[in-house]
Symmetry: D2
Subunit: 306 residues, 4 copies
């Protein structure tokens, strides 16, 4: 197993850089389409506080669906297992992330918290039990990352809201089955703000180290229980990479969650959290170069969980 | 982390034994319905050749879909990655194991090798490149387990064939898309024989230790490459437990494959392979008590991959 | 062929009256559940102005989906065929009336104007080209029926709106595909008002005589062209009775449109329009006794189009 | 309403002849692809024995799915309504003619007798109650058409059988649900023979006049009851033209059944049966020029049932 250092990370980025020209930047909202297509960055954080980085690791981007892991983590602290898992499942969907087909056939209970429907249910649950869900998430992320200036990108949040028809359809469909309790428009606003969190790779790696550290931050602050950390990692490996989770586990072998902003957060349990960023996506919606660099890293470190 | 010994395994079996009364024994074919509902066994094998066991670990049963891991392993030795994965995918299906809906929508390419459609494609590929696929599999299993008297249960195989309409439909549908090359009836016969392999927990644990040993048997014989072993483990964790893979990963956190005969094979990478058996199934089709004992074991050993 | 008179209609009602105890009154909104379950009425209107009636033919009820024929008729006068039929199809759906599955698979284009999705697209189109779509529809219905006091039942309309989650999901899904142009909430309000038109059998029969009279009212006022009248009749026979159109054509053999309020309007081309009402529904959502009386009438008059 | 004569039919054929260049000849089996693409014919038969014809009305072709009406008619004489309709439905499918999706979701009961699944169930039923189902159908067709030399095109039948994977999948899927009783291969052979009946427009028009004559041939021989004739016409209008029944009813307004050989049989109840033939198909699978000539004829004769 290779030793980690910034030079190794630079080498890996160089290997995958040609792929940045091949992916397709998300353009379903104008605000995302403006991102620099060739950006490429990586950062790694360990439970004992070390950080490695390379490339555009200090440029902030829209974390998008990576935020689904954060909202689930918060929900786990406010709801019992019984309450939470009767409203959202734990199984891979075998469907595109925003499909309504399965949701209707399964009576409004989303397959897992990492597809849009599931994340919307989680946000609906937070809306019920948090007094100011957007402000609260900001506080949490600032605490996790140690960066007090993290913000929502309001330009992105507004743009998402303007193109929110599909997510509104999902929310209303769940409401028709009694699985959505708050005002649709209000919850969508919260959901889009979470998606519009603007963070860089270093901040992301640092924020998610609790999943590689038995549920605690590098400073030892407990966020969730050790068991819950294992459970989130399990959900990420089966459902974290949209309809490409199987391929990703096969190639990389780490629990991970991607976002259409081009970010991926990956976990080596008990060892480290890794954030990569490259906006060009494969046809499933996962960062093309980001996945490739994680695959190389997995080989070099022998860090597959398998 | 607790030390392993037979007494610990006995204790765990005692804890889950009440569950054996709650599951439902598979009865879609008469031959399977005859099995003793309260049977309960476990065996563990390590790369260095150790064996622990408890309960009905020496009673043979029908391994059913556990054989899908064996046929995939053999296929990996006879086909290149390109050849194999263009005919079967690597993603969870989000559907019952024998559904045709997704198969039609995705033009006859099964989602993964562990649902029936995928295993049938793999058997079709073996039919093409093995001269006597049933005899060959027997030889392989006898070699892996070190038991030269392992046999197909011809009563079960015949019974399966008599109730094979759904699998025939799946095979013909794939043929209509050009993804099935040999005689349907011939391949079904092979497939049902593989399912009808009769093995006990000790034999199973020993046979699958190559997945916990970089692809090699405890005697050091290479079966597949280290990378292929990791890849199969990845496929098992995302797709090995029918439409309950997410829940299983969340509760147990090990790559595993189940069969409707009530067996489960689970892998702790680089450490051990575990075989459990209890015929009562949950509504998804996985052994109820078997899953529970793996969950307890995972907790006691701290052996989740996450 | 029997001669029509009120006594014959009374006889037919008597024959089917026992069925009124067997159907299930729609209760998805409280306002509809309040209706008298055993009501039973029929009225027939001819192009030359004759009216026959029996039973509760003068009690108003909520016409519900029967209004979908009216909104389509109005849309045909405001849009060219090309404009209209590129946004909604002409095929039976083979699905429940409020399903989103097919709508997603077919990219937001509803199968026909008589399922909810299709009717919502038609209302969206009317919203674009009518200045006051609710007031305009009232004027049209008053003109067609010759009753100037026809009103929306605001209690029902409000109740529908409060339980509108499924229809909102449908509208938003179409919006996500670009097939819905106006404000969802506004169009839903219009749609629910149309459904909440309160009319009796006589008023209904009189209103729809244009479909039995080459597109003209009994007074000779052209509403739509003769060809358009034939086309609407064709759409009704293939798609007018929810997912029971085939059975209805087989039993009754008339173009017809039903509503969950228990009303059905049926057409004998060039001869008469028939309105029946009985609130008890079969499992598809069509009036149980209403269908039966139309079947008897069809036999007595030899009036199947086949 | 125009008077019928051969000259009128010639004129109509001339009008639609350019369309023969636009359709796509069925090529899923080699035997069908060999047909002359520009063939165009029409024949009309009346209950009183008159025949009109134009174009290639005397060239035989493969009647394909038109035979589904014949097999249903025979089944109606051998089974009670209860027996028949518990095994096949009466509703349009809203799906391609050979889809398995709906069939699985609806537990192996086909939507109607005119999609492949439904026709296969009907053939399975005939296999049970007819002693020599292929010979018997030949006798019936020779009687109906008055042509004792009508034959199966064995070249086509064999070709169908060689490409029968999709239909085999459908049959096996129904068998898995208990809705298919005889040997799959045997029934497929019968089914393909029926599809391979070789007839010309005159023979077809004459054969189907019973549907325009209260169930009797022009010679007064009762084939089915008057009610059954009406019911078959109803099924044809809702489900006879694959997934284009709605459009066909809207344009032409006649009960009809098409085949991928390019034939269509259409009925004007109590007046005439019309057979058209042109091998070029639209994207749904219906004859392009054939549909167009029926539309023109409907306008000229005012013969829409609506």
């Amino acid at each position: 197993m290779t030793e980690l250092d910034n030079a190794l990370l630079e080498t890996l980025l160089d290997q995958v850089r040609p792929l940045t020209a091949q992916g397709k930047v998300a353009d379903y909202i104008p605000a995302l389409a403006e991102v620099p297509a060739h950006a490429l960055g990586i950062a790694i954080a360990t439970p004992d506080g070390q950080i490695w980085q390379a490339g555009d690791a200090q440029t902030r981007f829209s974390i998008q669906s990576i935020s689904k892991v954060l909202s689930l983590s918060v929900a786990l602290t406010r709801y019992s297992d019984d309450e939470l898992w009767q409203r959202v499942g734990k199984e891979p969907s075998g469907q595109p992330f925003n499909s309504l087909v399965q949701l209707e056939l399964e009576h409004g209970k989303p397959r897992n918290p990492f597809i849009n429907a599931g994340a919307l249910v989680v946000c609906d649950m937070l809306e019920t039990r948090l007094t100011a869900p957007r402000q609260r998430m900001l506080e949490i992320v600032r605490q996790l990352s140690g960066q007090s200036d993290i913000q929502y990108d309001r330009h992105v949040a507004r743009s998402e809201y303007e193109y929110s028809a599909r997510n509104a359809a999902i929310a209303w469909l769940m409401k028709s089955f009694g699985n959505f309790h708050n005002d649709v428009s209000e919850v969508l606003q919260t959901y889009f703000h979470y998606c519009a969190l603007s963070m860089n790779c270093i901040e992301l790696a640092r924020s998610f180290v609790y999943l590689a550290n038995q549920g605690k931050t590098a400073d030892g602050v407990p966020i969730i229980s050790p068991r819950q950390a294992r459970q989130i990692n399990a959900l990420m490996i089966t459902s974290g990479m949209y309809d490409g989770a199987g391929e990703f586990a096969w190639r990389v072998g780490m629990p991970a969650k991607s976002g259409v902003g081009g970010g991926i957060i990956a976990i080596i349990p008990n060892k480290m959290s890794i954030a990569v960023w490259s906006p060009g996506l494969d046809r499933i919606g996962n960062s093309l170069a980001g996945t490739a660099v994680l695959e190389l890293l997995s080989e070099r470190l022998g860090s597959s969980v398998f």
